[in-house]
Symmetry: C2
Subunit: 217 residues, 2 copies
DNA sequence: CTTAATCTTGACCGACCGGTCGCCTATTGC
DNA sequence: GCAATAGGCGACCGGTCGGTCAAGATTAAG
């Protein structure tokens, strides 16, 4: 610091924040790099060396922050979860619309997100959780459970909005939990098909059936 | 041959078949081994060496039959396609039931298949095509296109049965192609969720919504 | 200024990756 | 019987995999 004079509280705070940022900067660069690479390819398809190169970090530093590639991937999943919350779930489920219309808006925000990431990556990448789930569910129990939890938290949002719709009398008697699960399944399937066809428009084409899904009680 | 006497046509045929079988036996052992391993883990998660070990074939022989691991995987997809046809699609879509009921039976045969393979493998393995699609769609264009074709052929079956239902007046006016696509998406999503939760029963729980899916024209 | 903890670095590890090669044998067509 | 071919074999290749380590630089705290 060029001015080491008597530090005010504000200065301390700012400095502290910068330090925190600095401390976690390398770590975050690693996570971001891994997130981008793994999301656009696959878990096994990306090596630690490549992740480090992209983050401009040496491999030795990598293993200072993460004990293993697996631990890193858990951090990546957390990061992706935040991204999805911020860019898709929170905007879609804002309470400025009636419940069912929120579900329809969810399809739109999902489409926008996929279209945008497709523009950046050159290909549609689908659901990062679904991608990892199918690749690793049978071979990494820790990751499998983490992804199960991510899915459960998304289902919870669907459940909540379905309950609201039911209370408002917008829909008949349905098994709310099962319907929420079915809706997430449909979303995952749509994204799988869209990724396979490399066509984000599939989301808009298949979207109309989403909010209609019902599992009777 | 112990009896090289004047060969009859029948003998020739039998011998030829045996020879053919022998010739393709090693190859088929490789394909079967790779199919089982890749289906129960992933493409990148299985090495050529392990495939050869399980097939009791030396690596040198492997590369006599397949120029690359990628070429092998194309053969594996073909093999899986036949298996799925025989064990799921053909039984489900037999014409002894009205169209819509065939769709409902499809869910059941799919459940049985998944339950059986889960019993063998110790875990539910989901859809082999979906698994490969999410892992490789962004990094291997050849495999991506092949899987796209597999999906198209399954969609075609759904389309056909939907058309029949429409002709019979069982369902209203729908976009048959889009609805078929949506149905496959839902199936893929169900299997993804079931694999992630490692619970085949999810198929029966979410199944009831399958035949109800409609994309309006 | 000193100490201790945090961070960074680059060389290094054995294991495994997909793939190659030359050699040997068994079977084929002539 | 002979030549040609297909199949089988095992050692071997360079490269990459995830991961380790010891020593140096940087920083915060007393």
């Amino acid at each position: 610091m060029k001015n080491p004079g008597n530090p005010l509280v504000l200065d301390r705070t700012v400095y502290y924040n910068m330090r925190m940022l600095g401390e976690h900067d390398t770590r975050q660069r690693i996570v971001s790099s891994a997130r981008d690479l793994i999301y656009s390819r696959s878990y096994a398809g990306v090596g630690v060396a490549e992740i480090c190169d992209r983050a401009d970090v040496k491999k030795g530093s990598f293993y200072h922050f993460f004990p293993s590639k697996q631990e890193l991937s858990l951090a990546v999943i957390d990061d992706l979860r935040v991204t999805m919350e911020d860019r898709v779930l929170i905007p879609a489920f804002a309470r400025d619309l009636p419940p069912i219309e929120r579900l329809e808006r969810f399809v739109k925000t999902l489409y926008e997100f996929q279209k945008n990431t497709a523009a950046e990556a050159g290909r549609i990448l689908g659901c990062p959780f679904g991608n990892l789930a199918l690749e690793l569910a049978t071979s990494d129990e820790t990751i499998r459970r983490k992804l199960e939890a991510v899915f459960a938290s998304i289902e919870a949002r669907f459940e909540h909005v379905l309950s609201e719709a039911q209370t408002a009398g917008d829909i008949g008697e349905v098994d709310v939990q099962a319907t929420a699960k079915a809706m997430l399944a449909y979303i995952e399937g749509m994204l799988l098909m869209a990724k396979t066809a490399n066509d984000p428009n599939l989301i808009m084409r298949l979207g109309p059936a989403f909010a209609q899904i019902r599992i009777p009680r």
